[in-house]
Each structure stands twice: as C-alpha cells, then as structure tokens.
Symmetry: D2
Subunit: 343 residues, 4 copies
C-alpha cells in the first residue's frame, strides 16, 4: 500500500470547502494535511464542524501559501474568482498539482473572462495549460494536468444534459432553452441581506435573466462538438433548499427524431460513466436522489408534434457541481479508482 | 346600503375552500351563509380554522344541495373535477349563480375533456354557456354569466404572460416554452405519500412533462387571438413552498423587436388592470411579493442576438390562481368594485 | 366621519416596518403620511414592496425627524434598541404620540437596561411615563399614554401564557420553564452569516440559553401580580420558518389543581379579549393558525401525578409580537375599535 | 479476511429502512442479501433509490419470512409496532440474530406496552431476553444478545441527556422537563393529511402533550440508576425539517452544583464514547451538525440562582435515533469495530 496523497484545502469555511473536507476526511487514499480559511482565528476543524470529531485532527489557519506548499502534494483552491488566479501560480511553480474550484481558469478566452467577471485575466500562461475538469467531456486530458479548472455548477448540469446531442451532431434550430433552478449554497456562505432565510424561504425567483456569468462556460462546452448552431437562452432561479440544481432543457430539434432512439442515444452515451445515470424512459430525476452525492441523474422525453426534446438533469451543486467533481478530478489525476471516496 | 349577497362555499376543508372562506369572511359586500365539506363531522368553522373566531359564525356540514340552495344567491364549487359537473346543474336550475373552481367547465371542446381528464363530459348544455373567468381576457362576458369556469392556476400564470403577444398579433416561430414551478397547495389537501413533507421538502422535480392536463386550457387562451402559431412546450415542477406559481416563458419571436417597445407593449396592455402589474424594466417578480394576494407580477426582457423574449409571471396559486380570482369574478358578476375584499 | 389619523413609520425596510405598513395601508381610520428607512435611496413604497401598488402612494426617504414630525400625529419607531431612546424625545416634545417597538422603554429599571442591553439608558424622564403596551395586562393605562413601549415578541408569548396564573395568585414552586421557539424574522432583516438560508434551513438550535435579554421583561410582567415566586428558566430556539413563536410553558404548581378548573380559569380570564383565544380542552395551538394575524392561541393541560401544568401559546412574532400589537395599541390610544384594521 | 455477515432488511421503503440500506450498502463487513417491503411490486433497489446504482444490486420483494431466513445471518425489522412481535419469533427460532427497530421489545413491563400501544404483548418469552440496545447504557449486554430492541428516537435523545446524572446519583426535585422537537421523518413515510407538506411547512406545534407513548421507555432508562425521583414532563413537537431531534432538558437539581464541575462530569461520562460528544462549555448543539450521522452532540449550562441545569442534546432521528444506532448495535453484536460503516 502506497503512502497517501497529501492534500490541502484553501477556503475551509465556505460551503464547498466544508464539503471537500467532509469527503476527503473519509477518503482512503489521501491525507488532509493543511486547511485554511479567511477567518483570523485558529480553530480546530472539530470546533468548526463538530461532526468531524474522530475523523480529522487538524487546525484551520489563516492562509499562508508557504505553509500550505510545505505540507501538500495537491491543493484545492476554494476561493472567490479573481483570488484564485493570484494564488495558483505560486503552487504550480512549486510543482504542486492544483485543482481550482473558482471560475478563474475555465474560460479559454481571456476576453470572455473580462466581459463576464469584470477584470482582466492575470495569469494567461497557466490558463493555457489548464484542463477543464469535466470528466465526461475531457477525461483523457485530466491525468496529465498540472492545473484543473473545476467546472461551475450550472455549466455541469447544462453540459451533461446536452453533450449526447453535441457529440452526436444532433442539431437544433434557433435557441435551446436551459431553465435552471439552484439551491442556496450555490451562492456561498456570505453575509448578504438577499440570502438571509426569510428572503429566500417560501420564495422563488429568476435572477440574472439571460445575463449570468456561466453562459460563456456553457457555450464553450457546447462548442466542443461539430454543431453548426449552439445558441441557448439560460435563466437561473433560486430554490428555497440547501443543495441541488435541476436543469430543464428544451431543444427544438432540427430534424424529427424517434423518441425511443433518442433515449437510447443518451443511455449509450453515458452507459459506462460511473456518476451519470440515465433514468428509464418515463422517469425524471429529483434533487433528493442526488443529495450529498457526486451523481447526475437524467430523464428525457420527446414530443413529436412539437419537435422538441425535454431533458432534465439533477446534480448536487456541492457534489457533482463542485466538491464531488473536484475529488473525482483528483482521483483521475492521481490514478485512483474514479469512484474512490465518492458516493 | 343594499343587502349583502348570500354566498355558499362547497369544499370548505380544501386549501382553495379555506382561502375562499378567509377572503369572504372579511368581504364587505357578502355574507357567507353556508359552508360544507366532505368531512362527516359537523364542526363550527372556528373549530376548523381557529383564526376565524370573531369573523364568522357558521357550522360546516356534510354537503346537502337542497340546504345550500336554500341559503345562497351564489355558490362557489371547490370540488374535484368530474364532481362539479354533477353538482352545478342543480344550482343553475334553481337560478343560483355558480362559480366553479374545478376544471369541468373550462374546456370548450368536450373531446379535450375526455382526453385529458379521462371521462366523458356529462353536462354539455351548461358547458356551452359557461364563461371562462379570466377577467383580463374575458371581462365583458362575466357580468351576464350564470356559470363561471374559474381558470386553472397554471393556465392563469401562462396566459397572463402571453396575452399581450397574442392580442397584439406578435408571432413566434416553432415552440414557445412555458417552464412553470408551483407550490404544493396546488395539489390539494389530500393524503398521498408523494405529498408528505419529507418527499417534497429539500426536493424539486419536474412532473407530467409535456403531458399535463392544463395544456389544452392554456392552448384555448392562446388561440383567443389571431396568431398563426400557438405551439408551446409546458413543463410543471413542484416547489417546496406552500403557495405560488412562477412561470418562466421563452418566446422565439418571429421578428426581431425592440426590447424597450416590448416592455411598453406589456405595460400598456395591463396599464388599467387592477391586479396585473408589469414591473419596471430590469426587475423580475418573486413569489413572496404575491403571497396571499390576487396579484400577478410580470417581468420581461429580450435579447436581440437570440431573438428570444423571456417573460416571467408570478401569482399565488390559491389567490389569482384559484380563490382570489373566483372572488374577482364574483365581484364583476355582482356589480361590486372589482377590488372589493381583495388585496 | 372624522379625519383620518396621520401616522408615520420609521424603519420601513425592516420586517416589522414592512408588516406595519402592510397593516396600516389597509386600515380604515389612518392615513400613512411618512415612511423612512436607513436606505439612502429615495424609492416609492411600491418599488420596495410591489404588492402595495394601488393601496399606498408614498416615497420612502432617509429619516429626517423634522419632516416626519411635520406630517404626522402619531409615529411608530421600528428602530434598533439604543436608537429609539435618542429619537423618541424629539417627537414627544412636539406633542406627537409615539409607539416605540424597540426595547428602549420597556424595562422600568434602568439598571436592568444597562445589564441586558449593555448601554446606560439616556432618557429616564420619558421612560417613567412610558406605558408598557400589553393590552391584556395594561389596557386601562393605554388611552392616556404619550409614549407606548410595545412589548417584545418572546415576552408577549410568555406573559399571555402565565398572566391567568399571575393575576389569580396561583403559585408555583421552584422554577417554571419557558421553552420558546421563534421564526427567523424575529432576528430582523440584516446581513449576518448566522441568518443566511442554509445556516437556518433544515436546522434547529437553542441560543442565548438562560441569558436572553428578554428575561427581565418577562420577569417584569410576572411581577405584576402578587405571586411570592416568579422564577423561570427561559430558553429561546430558532425555527426554520419565517414567522411565529410557540412557547411551551411548564409550571410546577404549588398546590394540586383540578385540570378542568384550570382550563376554565384561562377561558374566563381571556373570555372577552378580542385577540386571545383559549382553545377547547385537548387542543393545542399551531403557528400556521396565527400566521399574519394579531391573535394569540392558547392550549393547556395538567397532569395530576406530576403536579405540572403545560401551557402552550402561539403568536405571529410580527403580528401580536410586534406590528399587530403596535396597531392594537394605536387603536386603543386613539379611541378606535380595538380590532380595526386587524385580523 | 472473513466472509461478510449476511444481513436482511424488512421494511425497505420506510424512511428508517431506506437509511439502513444506505448505510449497509457501504458497510465493509456486511453483505445485504435480502430486502423486502409492503409494496407488492418487485422492483430493483436502484429503481426505488436511484442513488444506489452501482453500490447494491438487489430486488426488493414482498416480505416472505422463509426466503429472508434462507438468505441472512442477521435481520433488521423496520416494521410498525405490533407487527414486529409477530415476526421476530420466526427468525429467532431459526437461530438468526434480530435487531428490531419497532417499539415491541423495548418495554420490560408488558402492562406498559398494553397501556401505551393499546394491544397486549404477544411474545413475552422473547421480550424477557431482549436487550435494550442503547450502547451508552447497556454496551456489555449487547454482544451476547439474540434479540436487540433498538431504542426509540425520543428516548435516545432524552436518555443521553440525563444518563450522566442518573448514573452519578445526582438527584432532582419535582419534575424535570424534556421539551423535544423532531423532524418529520420520525412519523414515517405514510399517507396522512396531517403529514402533507403544507400542513407541516411554515408550521410548528406540540402534540401528544404529556401523553406520548415514548414516556415509559424514557422512564425505564432513567430508572437504570439509583435516583429516588425520576419524574419528568415530556412534550414532543413537530419541526418543519426532514431529520433531527433536539431535546431541551431542564433539571431542577436537588442540590446546588458548580457549573464547571457539572460540565466536566458530562465530559468524563462520555469521554470514550465514539458517538457522543460533549461540546465545549458555552456551546450548544444544532441539528445540522448531526445530519446523516450516528452522533449525539450535547451542550449544557447551569444557573446557580435558579438551581436549574439545562442540557441540550441533538441527534439525527434516522441516525442515532434509528438506523445508525441499529448498525452500531450490529457492529457490537458481531464483534466489528463499533464505528465500522458509520459517520
């Protein structure tokens, strides 16, 4: 039995950081050696998350890059965008593997980053070599990567719903619709009046209608195939639940299809994927069934008179949409079984 | 000051029945004289709904049509579909006004009723004279009606979002998308494992994907204009909240529009409506703002490169989607101020 | 018909301020003439709360005392504690009636204020003349008041549960237990990580165990009778709901009682109260039944072998626990029917 | 490495059955060989719970005792009370170990069973040899047991809060108060109007006030020590969350204590327990921190002037309150590490 991989987590008190630590603390192949947060206090991880007593004995420090680098082989950056691109270069220069969970290394076009995140990209060199860590799209590129850009939560749910069309050259006409609904942890653990309980509870709304910053990331994945048209309208909504993204996708197919064959095409496409499951025809996913997992469940139907396919995908935004997928990437990168430590 | 209108409510222990009683108990122009439920016990309304103490002193009986007819001028039927069409004729034959909240008198084509509700329609005569009670579509027909078919909750949210296009002849191409999300009271107060708390809470799912029985009702409203194409894909979802329907509607316009003019067109269309409010450009509705009201809030945007308009409507499914609208219909029918007793 | 009372609300964007405005906008005897908030922007009330369109046409300003005083006869101060006592004197000096919803004028002992709120009281003069506005305790004193200290939410639920014992000299031994559970709006609309949705949702906890600042206020009410002992242990908890406080009170009675007589004593005590309702024996209140009302529902039982009475009270913390009670106080103060504008 | 223990679960479609299967599917020392439910359909476990795809390949059958016995060494009965005592004897007679999660074998006095469950006990012989499976109370008796009565959810939370006093002979006077609040899964997955979403959501209430059937089970645990008085008042409440029980316990101590020493006494009592954690002084537990775990978190304080200790315990009602504890019992019974397969 080989020595465990030593891993660090930066951003331990965010929701994604917490989920990462929860998964990694039970992962048989790794040892968590360093965790840090923006909080100034030194606290044991058990003081912050009492449920970890007995499974992890670590102190959470204010972030010191030198200390982190000294302790780890691989580091997860669970930081706000714009902060990651100032942080990753240091670890890369020390030969550490980096899995970045922010948006900083996802968009191959720096101009798009500027447009949607409002800041010029500052690390074009590493951006070029970064691998977009959606295994179902990009599995072969991951093992050799030094820097992995872990996909966004909405883009994961959207891409997994459309890749079977994209990769099989099934065209649509006009605009495909991606109507997505996310739990509140997607917005992070931050003090904001808009996020307090009684603003969100018993409420529901659309936000950033047709203007959300995840659009170019979705677009980039859709362009990975040979489709002539990849136009889509994307509207995210805020669900009064903790975790989960359900994406309802409407595709006006360019050519009529047989519904049963379309279902088979999806089943075949994902047949060997460990974390993507196409439900039997007639069934649609629900968020409860992916809660605290790294799974994506997909249901689909097609109505001939409308020429429209409806594909519904469900993920846990902290699981397959963030921390779970980050660990999946680590597993692939490190030569572990892809399912190791994941549900 | 004239004598109050005497009204009866059948179905007092359902969610819609409860909301009707709550509104009517405080309505200045009516006197609730009879309430009944399927429950066998005789109970005072105060025993069932303690918050009504002091505002309503009535006993809730098992339903006896003769008794109800003896006590009222107008009756609200808050009954399951197929039961209403067996009940309404009796009251109509006695000269009572009937506001039916079930689906039984909404679809003008009996064949559609058979297809979507699984039973042949049994009261074709009254069906013909029934007025579809969506005031924003049909206000002129309501005052003379004997029987009002109160619209369904989803069809109200969908129609109010699309009527400005329908009535102004603004065409779309292909399929418009109506992605609707409803609170749980829309399913009624009934014992069903699918509806128990821990099946719905922290969960979200689509259901009856492209097959929901409200489709022909939506279609009927969309066909009230002169559009050549009214095709739409309708997918309802179940929100873990008590009340409210948010409908996100995507319209691939046949001709490019100026976004500002489109917003003006909506604002003008609803400018004099007491219960429909088009929000300022850039704002979108949220369910909390229509909770326990009879209002519909609408936000919209248009993206030129996509040629797609996104219209979002919010209603309370028990308010404008059921009981509130039923009282609005009663107000119009009875010559009261349309806003009387409503928020 | 006399001219409406002109009223102002300071603190319009808090939860209590919003509820006050919602109630006052529909109140037949008053005209809201001035509203202000800490927000710097000038916004119409309809922009802030779209559901008020048509019922209130006012602009919300940053607070300017001179402007407020020029516009009103009576002012509601919905401000943080310590701010109210700096604000009320100005309005009192101009002859305006003041209903203060903060804690500033509730505790008759300035030393207690210092101990529990951490600041010396700065307005001892007005504190002396302030009337504690719990009508069920103090109704006679309210009509002549210039300054009303509107009770706290927990103290209202606790006092209403114990006043029948207190006022009938029914003693307990040792420590009575007040175990209270409150919805989240009780904490105000403020940016705090502890209050964001995913910290509260699917969660439940006790807080400020035996140390909550409402203890002296409860104590003050319990001492309004002739009991020899009024000791109690008070523990508040945070419920993952918007509104409502349920208080479960355990009283170890000094002398055995007949359970039926105890229930009668409660029923008699509150028999003429417009907003307090003792439920039939065997029934206990639930928060849903007081939602958006000014009511308090009470259930109680007694087990002879334990010698313990259990009394459960339910209020809406924004209704009888804040804004509703403030309007009830205004009604009494102004000679209106006590129920005017309230449910 | 020895052969895995073969285990069966009866009652697979209840909430406790589901949680058992979730835990057992990932347990390194067991193989799930048989699952059954009351549902007539044969379904794969993956069809019922799609998230189990890949970790469990079993068909769920209607319950046939012979088949179950043929497949297993140990069986979990997750059945309604009164059904278990008709089912367990068959398996015991075949030499199978039985862990019963119903109430049937918990109360040592058949008369109490009759009083609180309304039926005479039908299996007095096995009742005598049944071991009450609360490891913190009874760990030594478990390894030799043939039949384990898995504790109730409320009794687990209550007993863990009071055992340090009970076992150290710390007396209270009069009545101790156990105010408990439970998530909705505690009521089971059954069609009941009282449990549907909109009856529970945004609501809170006490139920079975001083009459709940878990009282004698709590009493039995409290009598395991040498206390002269073990009187308590128990009131359960229904929380609008899925999982968790928080119990707030008020103990009027017979003799004044030093608060710090009391905290130490609790810390010492549970110092070596793998699943019970006494939080640092000043901290109190919250349900989120025990979600989907087998842990119990405890916080406590003491106020000298009141002579009252307040102890707060938090468990997951499906974890330490049901399925988790059942697996803990299996681990002890089978000589596995007590923490195997549990979080």
């Amino acid at each position: 039995m080989s020595a465990p991989l030593k891993v660090a987590v930066v951003g331990a008190t965010g929701y994604t950081g917490e989920e990462l630590i929860r998964i990694l603390a039970a992962h048989p192949k790794v040892r968590l050696t360093y965790v840090s947060s923006k909080d100034d206090r030194k606290q044991t991880i058990q003081e912050i998350y009492p449920y970890l007593r007995g499974s992890l004995d670590l102190v959470c420090h204010p972030f010191k890059p030198e200390d982190a680098a000294a302790e780890c082989d691989l580091i997860f950056l669970s930081l706000p965008h714009t902060v990651s691109m100032k942080t990753a270069p240091f670890f890369l220069s020390r030969g550490k593997k980096v899995i970045d969970i922010s948006a900083d290394y996802r968009l191959k076009e720096p101009a798009q980053y500027l447009e949607f995140y409002g800041t010029a990209h500052e690390d074009a060199g590493n951006l070029k070599q970064a691998v977009y860590g959606l295994p179902e799209l990009n599995r072969e590129a991951i093992p050799g990567a030094k820097l992995i850009a872990n996909p966004g939560c909405y883009p994961t749910g959207a891409a997994l719903g459309l890749l079977p069309l994209v990769k099989n050259g099934i065209e649509w006409t006009g605009t495909c619709v991606i109507d997505a609904k996310s739990g509140v942890t997607g917005a992070g653990r931050k003090a904001s009046v808009n996020l307090i309980f009684s603003e969100v509870n018993e409420n529901f709304k659309a936000y950033k209608v047709l203007t959300h910053q995840h659009q170019p990331e979705i677009s980039q994945s859709l362009k990975s195939g040979k489709l002539k048209n990849t136009a889509f309208a994307f509207v995210p909504h805020l669900l009064p639940i903790d975790r989960g993204i359900l994406s309802t996708i409407y595709v006006p197919l360019a050519q009529k299809k047989d519904g049963k064959k379309l279902h088979e095409l999806y089943s075949d496409f994902y047949g060997r994927e460990p974390f993507v499951q196409v439900l039997p025809a007639g069934r649609f996913p629900e968020l409860k069934m992916v809660h605290k997992t790294n799974q994506c469940h997909i249901g689909l139907t097609y109505r001939d008179d409308l020429g429209t396919a409806v594909i519904v995908t469900a993920i846990d935004n902290l699981g397959k949409g963030a921390a779970g997928q980050a660990v999946q990437n680590m597993n692939i990168l490190s030569g572990f079984s892809e399912k190791e430590g994941l549900v």
